[in-house]
């Protein structure tokens, strides 16, 4: 059972009731694991959250009622049952994302009786029933059945469960009427139909959820909101730039959803979206627009791909200096899925001593001198050092704070020598781990479940299948949604280790 997280709750009530107030913004934060906040195992339900669900349900129903959302028929005080039954069965079916049984509707109808016992009009009873629909586990959780106990066969999801998996993956929301109809007709077992649905859904504005929720977490864009660069050293950073950087990365990623790019080109795609302010900040020719426009990065290869973006460069820095370690770890975790083990006890995150006459390169070299550190830092540091031409707020620089010229070279353990961001991009793109890693993150997000050793073969299969199809984002999505990982629940999901 996947509890709806805050983003999913907001999007679901938007599509279910037309409510755009985002009631979940005041819910407690969703804990996350494996880099995402939609992991079923981690999404707990606390009494406080339940209280908030209850209060939100009451307000959602009242507001929707006032807006006339439930006006499809008129409740006749003398004989309210036919209309109440129509409202409730239709609403429960949509809210619970599956057909409802008459017994379930009858249970909801009992509220109409209850209201009349308290001398309230039938509308009050219907509203109580609607509230109960919204705090029922059928609404708050995406329920997926399990294989029968003792069964060794994995359970294949039914069409409605699949429809929800698709819509929450691509939209972070409930299925729409067209997807629901396809499920009803049993068409979601047909690969042709599934592909058509996926393409249709990606073309819908709701697919923006992939930008905010998948890319926002995979590329750390969400962390930009809480980044606090040191104002005395880096006063050039301000709220307009924060917003401009965020918009840039979002528009950049959105083009991978709609456009004809290979997904791995996210490393070095030669275009971006800037407004005049951000262009000047980056040292690009200003496009003559206060809002973002698409620009080719001819002559500015350093700004190509995700590493040229202020958002990523800022969130992987300390407030007062760059952190080659954080940047290196980001590459290893988010792009190669070969995160180093945590440091041994009591050396975690030791900043090298600040002596102004030492260059960053020299400071990082200290990592190599300690036997306990060098194993991992030989991998992290050169990747991070290759980005040293970008300061902690993403500006290009040729000198360090100390005045020494930036040295963006590093030797990888496999003998590769990186000099600057371009070398690092080339190095990453030829690494076979890249496409597997992107797949692993996307599959984690799509299924709401962390991947482990046992999933490795499936990840490799999905990645090679996606690349064979053309390697676009849509190819990865299609490869994932046709995989048994997406369409089945295995025994490993029924039983946590």
């Amino acid at each position: 059972m996947h509890r709806l997280n805050r983003a999913e709750y907001n999007a679901t009530v938007r599509d279910l009731l037309g409510d755009t107030t985002q009631p979940a913004k005041d819910f407690p934060i969703d804990d996350h694991g494996y880099g995402f906040d939609n992991i079923a195992d981690v999404l707990s339900l606390s009494p406080l959250l339940m209280e908030k669900y209850s209060a939100a349900a009451q307000k959602l129903v009242e507001d929707a009622w006032t807006r006339g959302v439930f006006n499809s028929c008129t409740l006749d005080p003398a004989n309210p049952a036919p209309c109440a039954n129509e409202i409730l069965s239709d609403f429960a079916r949509r809210a619970w994302r599956r057909p409802v049984e008459q017994a379930e509707v009858d249970k909801l109808m009992s509220f109409v009786t209850l209201a009349s016992q308290h001398a309230d009009p039938p509308a009050e009873g219907v509203k109580l029933a609607l509230r109960s629909v919204l705090i029922s586990p059928h609404f708050l959780f995406r329920v997926e059945k399990n294989a029968p106990p003792g069964s060794t066969e994995p359970y294949t999801l039914d069409n409605y469960e699949l429809a929800s998996r698709l819509s929450y993956f691509l939209w972070s929301s409930m299925p729409d009427d067209a997807l629901f109809a396809a499920a009803e007709a049993g068409k979601l077992t047909d690969p042709v139909e599934v592909e058509a649905q996926v393409r249709r859904m990606l073309a819908d504005p709701k697919a923006r959820a992939l930008v905010e929720n998948f890319a926002g977490q995979w590329l750390f864009t969400r962390a930009l909101g809480t980044a606090v660069p040191d104002g005395t050293l880096y006063g050039a950073f301000n709220e307009e730039l924060r917003a401009a950087m965020r918009t840039e990365t979002e528009l950049f990623f959105a083009e991978f959803i709609a456009g004809d790019h290979k997904l791995k080109d996210i490393i070095d795609a030669p275009f971006t979206y800037v407004n005049d302010q951000l262009a000047a900040y980056y040292g690009l020719p200003p496009p003559g627009s206060p809002t973002h426009v698409r620009v080719e990065l001819t002559g500015h290869p350093e700004r190509s791909g995700i590493f040229g973006k202020g958002s990523l460069l800022t969130v992987t820095s300390n407030p007062d200096r760059t952190s080659p370690v954080q940047r290196g770890v980001w590459v290893l975790e988010q792009l190669l899925c070969s995160a180093p083990p945590p440091p041994p006890p009591d050396v975690e995150n030791l900043p090298p001593p600040i002596t102004p006459d030492m260059t960053m390169k020299e400071r990082m070299a200290l990592h190599r001198s300690a036997p306990a550190c060098q194993g991992c830092h030989r991998l992290m540091d050169p990747l991070g050092l290759s980005l040293e031409n970008f300061d902690p707020i993403g500006r290009w620089r040729m000198q360090e704070v100390s005045g020494a010229p930036v040295d963006a070279t590093g030797d990888m353990p496999d003998g590769a020598i990186l000099n600057g961001v371009r070398d690092m991009q080339t190095y990453l793109k030829q690494d076979p781990k890249l496409t597997n890693c992107i797949t692993e993150h996307m599959l984690t997000y799509a299924t709401g479940r962390g991947m482990n050793e046992a999933d490795h073969c499936a990840v490799v299969d999905i990645a090679s299948h996606a690349e064979a199809r053309g390697g676009r984002l849509v190819d990865y999505i299609l490869s994932i949604v046709s995989s048994s990982h997406f369409r089945q629940r295995g025994a490993e999901e029924a039983q946590t280790p």
């Binding site: 059972m1 509890r3 407690p28 934060i29 969703d30 804990d31 996350h32 694991g33 880099g35 079923a40 195992d41 981690v42 707990s44 339900l45 606390s46 009494p47 406080l48 959250l49 339940m50 209280e51 908030k52 209850s54 249970k107 009992s110 509220f111 209850l114 308290h118 109580l128 509230r131 109960s132 705090i135 029922s136 586990p137 059928h138 329920v143 059945k145 399990n146 977490q217 750390f220 969400r222 962390a223 606090v228 040191d230 104002g231 050293l233 300390n318 407030p319 975790e333 083990p341 945590p342 440091p343 006890p345 995150n349 900043p351 962390g450 999901e493 029924a494 039983q495 946590t496 280790p497």
Partner: protein, 447 residues
């Protein structure tokens, strides 16, 4: 409880987020809290601050009653006689596997249980002592809420929280069960609304009864829905369903309580909404005082920031992050920055203590006299991550459970034993062990 009392209002706070509360009169106390005349309930407030404390400027140099304020504790001069500085306690279950000291120790902060190292699946620690007390309060039907969890930052929504430890360990100190963190409220307005939820001014008894009947019917129906799911789910999902049932049970209590007018404690103004950490913390402290005063709950926990928080506090003249400073590497400028942050944290505690001291209750004692306030961090020194000489400050008299005005030193006694003492002081029966290493109540806290 439909008696009418003639009450004189007392302003207990002036300034931003001012709340006006009526004094807690004996007749208003829930039945269970009423004993002999002048008998008022004990309360417990927990104040958590991350990244440790710079101990050289914190720890008093002498033990016993004649101790002198240290630079970091100096803001508490006005309440010095209400303080019990406790040195030398150890929370050994807080040690992580490898690294991840902050998340592991924050998970163990109130549970004294070793945290299971995982990035997401199968999180497990242990019930926290505040929740043991909350369960007791709930069983006694003592207050409307068993406990109240507050904080400043909701938590990180990105990446990995601490060296392979899942974020729930870093973002929560209250655990209602080994696998269930109790989320904290970080919106002061929402917390305020919750204190007075279920009270609609001018509602008649008949309307209250109807509202309760409706609420209970909704709960019956959704509980039935959850029951219908039983049996079709695997083990992990059963756990989710258990959480659902528990939450519904709690909701049912709220619905039941709508008939108890909490209007005896009428709010004057709601808290001002701000993200300034100082003002926001003070608003949260006001809410704790109000909740205690109105006896809406007797247990409150507060997180000033989440584990391993690298927050920047420019208003203190500092440009670096707190966690980065805490890895001071014995550099003087980092020591100075840490002491500055510590002192700021202590001034926030000072605000809470002075507010509590200004509230006089029916037994003629102050709210602080009737309460225990516990201030600490998940580690001592933030560079070496030690878990054996924790910075602990108790305040208040706990209705006779504590003898403050002293500095006492222990020899690595388990922190869990302090919690056993506190749980007993709060009336939890039959608690003799706790966490992984609690063996009995810590001696010496009362003379």
């Amino acid at each position: 409880m439909s008696k009418k009392f003639k009450l004189s209002r007392r302003t207990v706070l002036r300034g931003s987020g001012a709340l006006m509360a009526l004094p807690l009169l004996e007749q208003m106390l829930p039945r269970t809290a009423r004993g002999a005349p002048g008998d008022v309930p004990r309360r417990l407030a927990v104040f958590y601050t991350p990244n440790g404390i710079h101990m050289p400027k914190w720890t008093p140099t002498t033990e016993g009653p004649g101790w002198a304020l240290t630079p970091t504790l100096e803001p508490l001069a006005a309440v010095k006689d209400d303080l019990l500085v406790v040195s030398g306690l150890a929370n050994k279950p807080a040690f992580p596997d490898g690294d991840g000291h902050h998340a592991a120790a924050t998970g163990a902060f109130l549970s004294c249980a070793k945290v299971f190292k995982t990035e997401g699946t199968n999180i497990r620690v242990g019930i926290s002592m505040d929740q043991v007390i909350a369960n007791h309060m709930a069983a006694m039907r003592a207050t409307r809420y068993g406990s109240m969890e507050l904080g400043i930052d909701a938590g990180r929504g990105i990446g990995n929280c601490d060296s392979g430890y899942a974020c729930p360990y870093a973002n929560n100190i209250a655990w209602s069960g080994p696998r269930t963190p109790v989320a904290k409220e970080t919106n002061a307005q929402a917390a305020f609304d919750r204190l007075f939820a279920g009270t609609i001014p001018g509602e008649t008894q008949a309307q209250i009864e109807k509202r309760r009947a409706y609420g209970k019917s909704i709960i019956d129906v959704v509980r039935d829905d959850a029951n219908a799911l039983q049996g079709q789910l695997g083990a992990a999902d059963q756990q989710k369903l258990e959480e659902y049932f528990t939450s519904v049970r709690e909701l049912e209590k709220q619905v039941d309580d709508v008939s108890v007018p909490s209007a005896t404690c009428a709010p004057a103004t709601a808290p001002i909404l701000t993200e300034d950490p100082t003002a926001k913390t003070k608003a949260m402290m006001d809410l704790i005082v109000l909740a205690f005063q109105c006896d809406v709950t007797r247990v409150a926990t507060f997180m000033l920031a989440n584990a391993r928080a690298n927050k920047v506090y420019p208003f203190l003249g500092l440009s670096g992050g707190h966690h980065t400073y805490s890895h001071h590497q014995k550099v003087q400028s980092n020591y100075d920055a840490l002491a500055t942050i510590d002192r700021w944290e202590v001034t926030l505690l000072q605000y809470l203590l002075e507010r509590m001291k200004s509230v006089i209750e029916v037994n003629g004692m102050s709210l602080l006299d009737n309460s225990i306030v516990y201030f600490s961090s998940e580690v001592g020194d933030g560079d070496s991550h030690n878990h054996v000489d924790l910075p602990i400050l108790l305040a208040g008299r706990g209705g006779g459970a504590l003898t403050p005005g002293r500095h006492i030193r222990y020899q690595e006694d388990p922190l869990a034993n302090l919690y056993i003492y506190l749980m007993q002081a709060m009336g939890v029966p039959d608690v003799t062990t706790f966490g992984d290493d609690g063996t009995g109540p810590l001696p010496g806290l009362v003379v």
